[in-house]
């Protein structure tokens, strides 16, 4: 350790730290809770409030048109109402895929556990401009994509998974994982309200080499039409502004 390193180590020594994700979620969802002065006294109350909010079954939220992701202050506003595109079961865990076109961020996808015990804190969401989904004047300038993805490692409520939209010509999506394995997943359609796209969804194998936030150079998504031609491609490691040319997947 150098002289400077010793100084930096003294400046901010490693100390025990207890994560408080409920507090982060509360802050993200309600600006009124940001008062630091009140935070300590309210911490327990905030945590309970978050748990209570996420404890409401998604079915009830759907009926009330009050999806869990609408609780986050800066969520992309829908052009049309969110719809359940697909329901399924992964390793005994029921799930549902929800989609809606947004005013600013293209097509938004969410995956959530399904059923009476489902809670929003087991869910995830992602948005991106997608070919086949109409842009609005407010849509971000980033280019439309042929294929995108939303993925999560295994958690308490769902196993690891990967889902996403793909251009409507795609009949199959090949997911090449960092571990070297490749999954071939048939695509499926959704309601016309979400746009001219198809979707794919797959449970990930345990230790599939796809940890969240850490995508290696081998990870690749390829959309194939019925003739086996590449019609969609994404290689995150080399993509420019989130886009890969089709040639990157041939």
């Amino acid at each position: 350790m150098t002289f400077a390193d010793n100084a930096l180590d003294r400046l901010a020594p490693a100390t025990p730290w207890e994560p408080d994700w409920s507090d982060v979620l509360a802050r993200a969802g309600d600006r009124r809770l940001l008062s630091r002065r009140l935070l300590t006294k309210r911490r327990l109350l905030i945590a309970l409030a978050v748990l209570a909010a996420f404890a409401v079954p998604l079915a009830a939220l759907a009926a009330a048109k009050d999806w869990w992701f609408f609780r986050f202050g800066d969520f992309p506003r829908p052009v049309r109402a969110p719809v359940v595109v697909k329901e399924g079961v992964w390793s005994g865990h029921p799930w549902e895929l929800i989609a809606y076109p947004s005013t600013t961020d293209g097509l938004c996808l969410a995956v959530a556990p399904k059923g009476a015990q489902a809670r929003g804190d087991g869910a995830a969401m992602s948005c991106a401009p997608q070919i086949g989904v109409a842009r609005t004047p407010e849509t971000k300038a980033s280019p439309d994509m042929t294929i995108t993805f939303l993925t999560s490692s295994a958690g308490d409520r769902l196993p690891g998974y990967i889902v996403g939209p793909v251009v409507e010509d795609a009949a199959t999506v090949v997911i090449r994982l960092d571990a070297g394995t490749a999954l071939r997943v048939p695509t499926f359609g959704g309601p016309s309200s979400v746009g001219h796209v198809r979707f794919y969804a797959s449970e990930l194998p345990a230790n599939g080499g796809l940890p969240p936030g850490l995508f290696g150079r081998r990870f690749r998504l390829t959309g194939l039409d019925r003739g086996g031609n590449v019609v969609a491609c994404l290689v995150p490691a080399t993509a420019v502004d989130g886009v890969s040319p089709l040639s990157a997947c041939r």
Binding site: T2, F3, A4, D5, A7, L8, D9, R10, L11, A12, P13, A14, T15, P16, W17, P19, D20, W21, D23, V24, L25, R27, A28, L34, R36, R37, L39, F72, G73, D74, F75, P76, T104, D105, A123, A124, M125, S126, C127, A128, S142, M145, T148, F149, L150, T151, S152, S153, G155, P211, P212, G213, P236, A239, V240, D241, G242
Partner: protein, 158 residues
């Protein structure tokens, strides 16, 4: 493509303690550091739609945490924070004020580059992405920071 809530949570749970050190170095106050990390990750959640995966997620979140720490330092009265105050050190940390004084003399960019390298172990590309500077300037920035810090430490200690 933006970041999912699960991805941000994974970074929080695996790297949270390192982010607290980063924020502590930035604010000089342990409670403010924890607050900056909580607020920084909350900002990352609120703004995750804007993450384009052109750099690492950790670098993008680090920017959120640094901004949150910066905002806390700018309003010390409201937050009850006295950043980099020499009298906040306990009696057995006699060299901590000297270190803070030496660090404080560095330009902000050099300080942040040093912090990102040391506390988060960021590579040059991640430091560049976090600070919004060219990758080619990171090496020189770190070199200058380390040299200046060594000089400053000699001065304040001597």
């Amino acid at each position: 493509m933006d970041a999912s809530l699960a991805e941000i949570e994974a970074v929080y749970r695996t790297r949270g303690a390192d982010f607290v050190r980063l924020a502590l170095a930035r604010t000089g106050d342990a409670e403010a550091a924890r607050d900056a990390v909580q607020e920084g990750f909350a900002r990352a959640i609120r703004g995750r739609w804007s993450y384009r995966r052109t750099g690492s997620l950790e670098a993008w979140i680090a920017r959120c945490v640094l901004n949150a720490a910066h905002d806390l330092v700018r309003r010390p009265t409201a937050a009850g924070v006295v950043p980099n105050a020499d009298d906040s050190a306990s009696a057995d940390e006699v060299d901590a004020p000297a270190v803070r004084a030496a660090i404080r003399r560095l330009p902000q960019r050099q300080r942040d580059a040093l912090f990102l390298r040391f506390y988060l172990g960021f590579d040059y590309a991640e430091i560049a992405a976090t600070l919004g500077i060219a990758v080619g300037t990171v090496s020189a920035t770190l070199h200058a920071a380390r040299a200046s810090l060594a000089d400053n430490l000699q001065e304040v200690a001597g």
